[in-house]
């Protein structure tokens, strides 16, 4: 009985806990409840993963529908998971738990409010990927986005007001464009509703006209693109993440940002394949901009958090390239990449904050030799670095590799650009790692350790990091644990897309 509504619980429980905390619960109980709010969605996500049915085809698992009083507009809160949303749902659960645990031990000022806002965000994230209804997909994204602005504005670091404002302008613009695109799809289709199931059924008999597809996909591509920091609309990201408190950065860069790409793969490509084909050249160029231009910009950064932020922007280029291929392999690679990147970037932000606690700086030129004081922290950071640069054994490798395979088929020259990116990543990631941890201890480190002795990674920091790392390794060694479900759904949806494109290409 409870299990029938488990997706609703994954969304509702964090929200309810947030509401309880807002309503003035004492701090002691607030923290205890927060464990529930962060833990339950993760458990539900894991359960959904383990019990996910095989041979699902294009159907959804754990489907449940709730009337919210909007059915006159064809809007229903329909929750369910398919192979595309399952990896994202698991990602949201896992990163949410890690970010929550890290926040609880962070000792932030006004901790209660901080936790409550994170819980609201977490609820939005779970809802975003569990929604079958496009309206709620969008709604939950907004629900998660607003607390982000507030957290950056209140708990942020340097330049927090400017950063919060800039993030708000960019992301609101991106959200507006994609909203227009989604409404266009809604208005133009005969489905009379927002449900993806119905929309997909409708286009099988009555596909959108080429014009609608062209403009619709264009709006979605740029709208979603801004949300995912597509070059050159990415400059909000390094600034925002630089200022954001660590748990908010983990949740935004790790999960929330994936919304745009997820929307492209789950909604836009299957519904608007001709539009996707029309724009794929442009998208390729912009994605290579992410990989190569932003890649070089990352090399010039001298601040650890900026290296991670720019690096994260760069890696979104791979996922966009996967989308630009408009193929099963490309879309599958993009999802694997998003999952892996979400885990690794969250881990990187977490560890960067832990480094900052020990060095009191993010400036790479002032760091050095931290491994002598904190070998465990160093080991975790090296692991995160290796995930970032796509070492086999880490989930990231599968995403990159699958995308490379797809891109070569699509355009060998684009593949040359994309594969060169792995070199750029290695350069900036290894350089930062060596600067922070290796070599003799820096003067700044020696000085600060005379006042307060530097301790190695504490267990309260280690547990959330370990959760992320374990997940990276699990998928890294056993990619089929998720890819089988992913592939099942893609093979049910995407061949239609590909054959439609092939038919047009023949004409």
């Amino acid at each position: 009985m409870m299990l029938d509504h488990m997706l609703l619980l994954a969304i509702g429980v964090p929200l309810a806990v947030a509401a309880l905390i807002f309503s003035g619960m004492p701090k002691r109980h607030s923290v205890k409840l927060a464990y529930l709010g962060f833990g339950l969605p993760a458990l539900i996500a894991l359960y959904a993963w383990v019990s996910f049915p095989g041979n699902l085809g294009d159907r959804y698992a754990f489907l449940a529908s709730y009337d919210t009083g909007l059915s006159a507009l064809g809007i229903k809160l329909t929750l369910g998971l398919n192979g595309i949303s399952l990896p994202m749902f698991v990602l949201a659960g896992v990163v949410g738990l890690a970010a929550g645990l890290y926040a609880i031990q962070s000792g932030a000022e006004r901790l209660k409010i901080y936790l409550a806002l994170l819980l609201v965000m977490h609820s939005g994230l779970m809802g975003m990927f569990a929604s079958v209804d496009v309206f709620f997909l969008y709604f939950f994204h907004e629900l998660a986005l607003i607390p982000t602005f507030i957290m950056v504005g209140i708990w942020g670091g340097r330049d927090r007001n400017y950063a919060a404002m800039k993030m708000t302008i960019y992301l609101t613009l991106g959200a507006m464009l994609s909203l227009i695109g989604l409404i266009a799809v809604y208005v133009q289709s005969d489905a009379g509703g927002f449900s993806l199931i119905e929309l997909r059924q409708t286009i099988q008999t009555a596909p959108f006209s080429a014009t609608v597809q062209k403009y619709g996909f264009g709006l979605l591509m740029f709208g979603f693109g801004i949300l995912v920091s597509l070059w050159p609309f990415h400059t909000w990201a390094p600034l925002g993440y630089g200022a954001a408190p660590s748990s908010a950065a983990m949740l935004h860069a790790g999960v929330l940002k994936k919304f745009g790409l997820y929307g492209l793969i789950q909604v836009a490509l299957p519904l608007l394949p001709l539009g996707a084909m029309h724009w794929s050249g442009w998208l390729t160029v912009l994605a290579l901009g992410n990989i190569l231009v932003v890649g070089f910009v990352t090399m010039a950064q001298r601040d650890l958090k900026q290296v991670i932020s720019y690096g994260s922007v760069m890696h979104m280029g791979y996922a966009f390239l996967g989308v630009a291929c408009v193929s099963t392999i490309g879309a599958g690679g993009a999802i694997l990449m998003m999952l892996a990147h979400g885990l690794s970037v969250a881990l990187s932000f977490l560890l960067a904050t832990s480094i900052h606690h020990r060095t009191q700086t993010f400036d790479l030129n002032e760091m050095g030799g931290l491994a002598q004081k904190a070998p465990v922290l160093a080991a975790y950071f090296v692991a995160a670095t290796m995930a970032t640069i796509g070492l086999p054994g880490m989930a990231n490798f599968w995403g990159e590799l699958t995308i490379f395979v797809a891109v070569w088929k699509f355009s060998p020259w684009a593949a040359v650009g994309a594969v060169s990116g792995v070199l750029i990543t290695a350069i900036f990631a290894l350089r930062a790692t060596a600067k922070v941890f290796f070599g003799p201890q820096s003067d700044a480190l020696a000085k600060s350790s005379t006042f307060v002795p530097i301790v190695d990674l504490r267990w309260s920091e280690r547990v959330p990091a370990l959760i992320l790392l374990a997940m990276l390794l699990l998928v890294g060694f056993w990619p089929k644990s998720l890819s089988t479900h992913l592939n099942g759904t893609l093979e049910a949806i995407y061949p239609a897309v590909e054959s439609q494109l092939a038919a047009v290409a023949q004409k």
Partner: protein, 626 residues
């Protein structure tokens, strides 16, 4: 048990060891040592059983499926991988045992042995791999374990730099490698080694670019020009690591990989001559560099580069038509390049691992003094001295020792296929004898030239026993009886000279050996200065310049070109994208906002209220109450 069960045991034993060490015994170095050495013993014993047992098999399973793309994991255990398995197992165990003594007092012993086990796992993955993607995966993993082990003394800036450099140089090659795999996948429709082979035999066209791009991977991993710069720096790692990874096995993986994809080269022969010249030039260049080194490990590192160049050149020399049977009417084409390369890889693994471990024993005895001009008189370390001397004789090609046979096979192949290469390789052999005898004399003969050398004592049995075992292999490894046991059918691919050619090769190799060895012996007195620098400073300086030219050019490129380009892009990003564009956007938004200025309270949280108000409107509208 089926043979593949043994293969799985061999592959997983070191992985289990690495995982156990990482999870449990970070602070218990002794436990880690035991676990890791046991894993290496399992690899050596079971591995040798597999190789000598003669059973060969193939196994395949899918690892990832996305759409039409399938990436497989599987074993291809043929004579080539059997040979490589034996080499990795034998040298691996010797190095593990040696490390017990060498790393005894190291504070981070557990990390060291964990890294060694991870390396063994990754290396065996390459050996067993049945497709190019799988080779690439383990190729990256050996790179990672190499990175960790080079950076073992991470508090030294030089170690931090060296590990980074090794990883990045390898990645440069791997970009090409990956592109080659992708091209192969979409062009031939498969990356499975057996299927590639049958596709080529079936007449599939192979673009020259495919083997050339795949070769880029070998250029990085086997440290060929122009990516050779990382290997000398990698000597920052502990000496047993240099023996195992940076001399005997990992750097030889490039040659192994080339032999794996030999059919592609047969189909695209133009690529072969590129390979041949890259190897030949590397062999000569590195031999020149070795002459002016004063660090015992650096001499050996450049020697390794040079010998790897020999192997790559051998592979590039390609196939050979040889008489079949008694009469010379029937002849067959054999993959002599691959045969000679693998033969030299095997003998080199034995004597070069011995040289490195011997140098480790010397360094250990001299309290980490590595300058050969501050050594001397170390023949008082009897086991080290005699085994090291055997290894020196083997590498310079004294008849009867392992290096002689394999080097002669390569020289003969060069004589048959390309005279210019033959001449260059012969000159390289002169230089090899020259720099090896120079080092040997300075280290072991004469009087001690420092307190460290004066107080040196022979190391304990855990270090001397591996030396003896490797010395035996360096003597017998070149004989067909022994090599044939390990190599199976690969023995038949080793080219053998007959008649007049045999005499030419034999005379050449003995002559170059005598010239080089005697010249060095007479030229270098046992003093604490480099005789070449004193007597011919011009020659010395030119060789130094040659030695440092690549690092100089790359350093210039990184500092002055790459980093400045990055700074420029960053500047443009900050000025245009972040500055002007955003301000412009803010201005447009500002216009919209004019009318709403009254409602705008200036805080970000205002957006939350807007969101809620919009939501209320939506519900009111949908409910039909409007």
């Amino acid at each position: 048990m089926e043979p593949y069960h043994f293969a799985i045991v061999v592959l997983l034993a070191p992985l289990v060891s690495a995982a156990l060490i990482a999870l449990m015994s970070r602070k218990r170095g002794g436990v880690a040592t035991v676990i890791s050495v046991l894993a290496a013993a399992v690899v050596a014993v079971v591995g040798l059983k597999l190789t000598l047992g003669g059973e060969r098999f193939a196994l395949n399973a899918s690892w990832l499926d996305v759409g039409s793309f399938t990436l497989s994991i599987g074993f291809l255990f043929d004579d080539l991988s059997g040979l490589m398995l034996a080499v990795v197992g034998l040298v691996g165990l010797a190095v593990h045992v040696f490390s017990i003594g060498y790393m005894h007092d190291d504070a981070a012993k557990a990390r060291y042995f964990g890294g060694l086990s991870l390396f063994m796992f990754s290396m065996l993955g390459i050996v067993f791999a049945n497709n190019l993607f799988m080779i690439f995966i383990f190729w990256e993993l050996v790179g990672f374990s190499s990175y960790v082990l080079i950076d073992h003394y991470h508090e030294r800036q030089s170690a931090a730099e060296a590990s980074k450099k090794a990883f990045i140089s390898n990645r440069v090659g791997d970009v090409g490698f990956m592109l080659g795999i992708l091209w192969c996948y979409w062009s031939l429709g498969t990356v499975n080694l057996a299927e590639i082979s049958s596709a080529v035999e079936g007449g599939s066209a192979v673009a020259t670019g495919i083997p050339l791009l795949l070769f880029c991977g070998a250029v990085g991993k086997s440290a060929q020009i122009p990516l050779q710069v990382w290997l000398p720096d990698a000597m920052e790692g502990p000496t047993p690591v240099s023996a195992l990874i940076h001399a005997a096995t990992m750097v030889a993986a490039g040659i192994f990989m080339l032999c794996r994809i030999e059919p592609l080269f047969v189909a695209a022969p133009q690529a072969l001559s590129v390979v041949m010249w890259v190897g030949t030039i590397t062999a000569l260049y590195a031999a020149f560099c070795a002459i002016v080194q004063n660090d015992i490990k650096k001499v050996l590192a450049y020697s390794t580069l040079s010998q790897l160049g020999y192997m790559v050149a051998a592979f590039g020399l390609g196939s050979l038509r040889v008489a079949h049977g008694e009469d010379s009417v029937h002849s067959v084409v054999i993959a002599a390049g691959a045969g000679a390369a693998m033969f030299h890889l095997t003998t080199h693994a034995f004597f070069k691992a011995l040289l490195f471990l011997g140098s480790g024993s010397v360094i250990h005895a001299c309290h980490h003094e590595q300058n050969i001009f501050r050594m001397g008189g170390l023949r008082k370390l009897p086991v080290t001295f005699y085994t090291f001397t055997l290894a020196v004789l083997a590498i310079i090609g004294v008849p009867g020792l392992a290096g002689f046979f394999s080097k002669d096979a390569i020289l003969y192949l060069a004589l048959a296929n390309n005279k210019a290469v033959f001449v260059i390789l012969a000159i390289t052999a002169v230089l090899t004898a020259f720099y090896m005898i120079r080092m040997w004399k300075l280290v072991f003969l004469g009087e001690p030239r420092s307190d460290e050398a004066r107080h040196a004592h022979e190391s304990g049995p855990s270090m001397t026993v591996p030396l003896v075992v490797l010395a035996i292999l360096a003597v017998i490894g070149g004989y067909g009886v022994v090599y044939g046991k390990l190599a199976g059918d690969y023995l038949a691919l080793v080219p053998h000279a007959h008649g007049r050619e045999h005499i030419v090769v034999l005379v050449t190799s003995v002559a170059v050996l005598l010239v080089g060895a005697l010249a060095a012996y007479r030229y270098y007195p046992s003093v604490d200065r480099d005789a070449l620098a004193a007597r011919s400073p011009g020659v010395f300086a030119s060789l130094k310049l040659l030695n440092e030219s690549f690092d100089g050019i790359y350093g210039y490129y990184i500092q002055k070109v790459q980093q400045r380009f990055a700074m420029l892009l960053n500047f443009l990003e900050q000025i245009f994208l972040s500055g002007l564009a955003v301000r412009g956007l803010a201005w447009v938004v500002g216009l919209f906002g004019m009318g709403a200025r009254a409602l705008h309270v200036g805080a970000v949280s205002a957006y939350a209220y807007w969101f809620l108000i919009g939501l209320v409107f939506l519900w009111v509208f949908a409910g039909g109450w409007f």
